[in-house]
């Protein structure tokens, strides 16, 4: 079957495979080596003893708590928003589209400053909240607000594109059979896009967990209240490197778990479709 390949062809093929292998190896190593280096810099003993450090634990729990809450808010508000946004045409839709994506390109530090001058104690809106005795900046609420601002596009974009690509004839059939728009959404659209939405949500969670710039600007750095894991890594790097490394490894593990979850969900989505 296979036609004879002249020796020069064989040589070419060999070079090709060699090149392909080299490319793959280069990319893999470039990405994997820094991660591996984290693990080589610290022994398991030190890692586990640092893990019991109250600063590490409080940062871990604070990060998980705030990221989960941010995610919940993004999903609860973002899902209906994305649906309404894709199904309706309204003036300024383009502008809203752009605004949704803005946090993706905006440096998080800028987001932090912007949030501070709006919601801070002497900020444009924050001063009125301050009169009511509500302070936002430098609280756990500020951490969550920063995370929502920075991480929401990952979910909303995904939801938007899912709803845009969704075959609307399913919805039309349901509507002709007498289902209300809300019921159609809840029983037809949502279940059929669920796995895609979940993978968007996982990405949002990951981004919220990694949020640094906006948090340190807007929420400050107070252990147990606003010092999330990335902030603890930053402060740890300047004092106790062990703590910085330990939290970095924790974050790597969590990121891996997130990526595996996304892979799994994407795979499931494919097999269902």
């Amino acid at each position: 079957m296979i036609p004879d390949i002249p020796s020069s062809g064989k040589f070419k093929r060999f070079i090709t495979y060699l090149g392909a292998g080299f490319l793959i190896l280069a990319v893999t190593l470039y990405l994997a080596l820094p991660i591996a280096a984290l693990f080589f810099r610290i022994t398991p003993d030190i890692f586990f003893s640092a893990l019991s450090d109250p600063q590490v634990m409080s940062a871990l729990w604070l990060s998980l708590f705030t990221s989960s809450l941010s995610l919940a808010i993004v999903v609860i508000v973002g899902t209906p928003f994305a649906y309404v946004h894709t199904r309706c045409t309204y003036p300024g839709k383009m502008l809203v589209d752009t605004l949704i994506d803005l946090p993706l390109v905006l440096p998080p530090a800028v987001a932090g400053v912007a949030l501070l001058v709006l919601w801070g104690r002497v900020g444009i809106l924050g001063r009125y909240f301050n009169m009511l005795g509500i302070s936002i900046a430098f609280t756990t609420l500020a951490v969550i607000m920063a995370q929502i601002f920075v991480a929401s596009p990952f979910y909303v974009r995904q939801a938007k594109s899912l709803f845009e690509q969704f075959d609307q004839s399913y919805e039309h059939v349901a509507r002709t059979l007498g289902a209300s728009p809300v019921r159609t959404f809840l029983t037809i659209t949502l279940p059929l896009t669920a796995s895609g939405l979940v993978s968007g949500a996982v990405m949002t969670f990951g981004r919220a967990l990694g949020e640094f710039g906006a948090t340190i600007m807007f929420a400050g750095n107070l252990p147990g209240v606003t010092q999330t894991m990335p902030l603890a890594v930053y402060v740890g790097m300047e004092g106790n490197l062990t703590i910085g490394l330990t939290i970095s490894i924790l974050l790597v593990l969590i990121s891996f778990a997130i990526m595996i979850a996304v892979r799994y969900l994407a795979h499931r989505e494919e097999s269902h479709a």
């Binding site: 079957m1 036609p3 090149g19 392909a20 002497v122 400050g220």
Partner: protein, 336 residues
Amino acid sequence: MDVQRNDIVMERSSKLNYILIAGIVTCLLIATVFLAGCTSNSAQAPQATATPAPATPAAVATAAATPQPVTTTAAPAATPTAVAVVTTPKPTFTPSSQNVVAYTAASLTGVSPKLASDFAKMYPGHKVVFNLDGTQALKTQVENGAYADVFISASNSYTATLTKEGYFVDGTVKPLTSNYVIVILPASNPANIQSLADLAKPGVKIAMEDKTVPAGTATVAVIGNLAKSTYTQAWNNSVYGNVVTYETSEPAVATKVNLGEVDAGFVYESTYTAAPKGTYLAITIPKKDNYLQTYTVGTLKGSTSKGAASDFENFMLSAAGQQDLRDAGFRPISTS
């Protein structure tokens, strides 16, 4: 049929081959560029020492009026001729001996432009580039291989660590200036703080530096001293309870106070003195309870322009440099 299919497969795979070969070529090109970059990097070191040659006489001539001995400028006439053979084009990012890269404690941020211009006045042709950050951050950067000529530390303990680790040229580390801790309030004084005792009032928002920041170390010591001498342990606990953020540099605390986002902040005296009048209110801390932070300046072993670095050090310790620091609210070493 079969033959035809094979042809198609062949055609396809040959197309794929071209793409792959193109990929390999690109890859090799990138690798070459990297290698070239590396080799030219290593060639820079002697090149950098060569550059001062023409500038040195100029500096000597123009700076003759100043009392500073300029003889310290690097590269006596012999070396440049020897190294001048290296013809690598001068990369713009290499710190030439005309440029002094000074890793400088963030509390000098305010005075740094004045220092830069006065240094250029005293040593024409020289230029200083400041990297301003908390000393703890700068220390980490230097320990991880960052290039710097001069290191100005706001903490004796970090200076000691770096000295022990062998980063400084022996004998170049000198005390530079000093600073006390002070409490600053926004000009509007939103929490109506009148004394140090008021810092413990419930609801007061305090910003201070993280304890890894030299100013933070000083602040912790000051609060401890005050609690012991004048106030109580309860005061101490309430003050810490009122802290809303531990910033990673001293100016960051001042910014939070300046914005009015917090009611009080622990900073250095110099920050209050150097700020325009009316920016902050201040509550001074009695000298007996205060913590005198000593700054040091030193030349790093890795510097490729030690001459210019030592010129900068001379300038910092000269009457002109000390005057700049005094004007910015720092306390000279001798009188403190």
